[in-house]
Symmetry: C2
Amino acid sequence: MKPLTERQRLVLAFIEEFCRRQGYPPTVREVAAHFGVQPRAAADHLAALKRKGYLHREPGLSRGLSLASRLEEQVVEVPIVGRIAAGRPLLASEHVEDTLPLPRSWVHGEEVFLLKVTGDSMSPLLLPGDLVMVKAQPRVARGEIAVVLVNDEATLKRVYEEAGGLVLKGDNPEFAPLRFARDEAAELVQILGKVVGVYRSFEGRGPR
Amino acid sequence: MKPLTERQRLVLAFIEEFCRRQGYPPTVREVAAHFGVQPRAAADHLAALKRKGYLHREPGLSRGLSLASRLEEQVVEVPIVGRIAAGRPLLASEHVEDTLPLPRSWVHGEEVFLLKVTGDSMSPLLLPGDLVMVKAQPRVARGEIAVVLVNDEATLKRVYEEAGGLVLKGDNPEFAPLRFARDEAAELVQILGKVVGVYRSFEGRGPR
DNA sequence: TTAGATACTATACAAAAGTATACTTGTCAA
DNA sequence: TTGACAAGTATACTTTTGTATAGTATCTAA
């Protein structure tokens, strides 16, 4: 994007601040009044900012401008899934407990959801209370961490397809691997998605 | 908040969608046109939504309405700090590489920043590439993980104040603890803040 | 049963707001 | 030195837009 002049930078900053405080963009006259100039001068600035790609404008509409770098474009509302029960619609509203606005750069693709870790089977990589980001997909590569639905219960495990069938392994050695014959797995095991990220808060956890 | 009627819920949903797409709120007439009613009817709905606390309005202003549950209120722009050099202003613009919009519920307090983990000293809890959330503070409780500036270099360590002085310990046993006499520590060691959270992306990391 | 909210129609008015016309001044690169 | 851009003044015109007036009809809880 073309660089801005100092004056244009100030105008853009004013618009950002105005939107943040008011929830709607300023009028040409409000920009003009803030800088103590005539409406025409302010309109010139807006035209320059539009020409340089820093904001969109709808000609003729009052307050018809919006920032090119809007929060709505930087942020994605990711659903937090609660208890997962068997039966299809994973992202159906009955499973969604809440949503969290996360930076778009963390969310690749559409079918992503958050899940609160409850068990200890992936310790120490994933601990109870962690929030894992999961990309919904029916298969994962060998050794990747997946959300797996076994007997109507969702768990986090590494998935290995082997000659004998399917093996689900936790990182925690205290948990024995689960083994399924190929036909058995097809019936009892459903991979819901791949773990693509974790968020952990240390607050409320004691120090070592 | 008072419950909405079905019609009011639809109007609110339209306003949310409109703001998300356009970047500015709709006019009374745009709401009216969308529902195929007269401007007066739409204005009645807006008045009801305001009365019930779902949106703010500035009387007389075009598009002078904003949602009570705005993204701006749910999200905080947290600075990502790059190379930290000695000398005071930690959150000065020369240290801030970028910012990331994070949910307000993750950010307690004001003086919070993000730091990319580079070393291995806190492995396996914190790995290179992780993004840690740090609350800027000059002291931490015994055993808490801190961002510590030693010899003009920022590292992550657990901090223990002991009889002999200050001990900085990584979780990784391959790293020997750093010990400082009390007066030595005051000169060479500066605690920049407490690690309060981590975000880790698994993409780009190989499976086990 | 009556007051109060909901949900509208239809018309009209005045303020708010974008924009056009006509100029001026200064800077800076081709 | 000329033309493009930046930054402005001053006045005016025309839409856009919120709101007021005056009604109608339905439903619901005191």
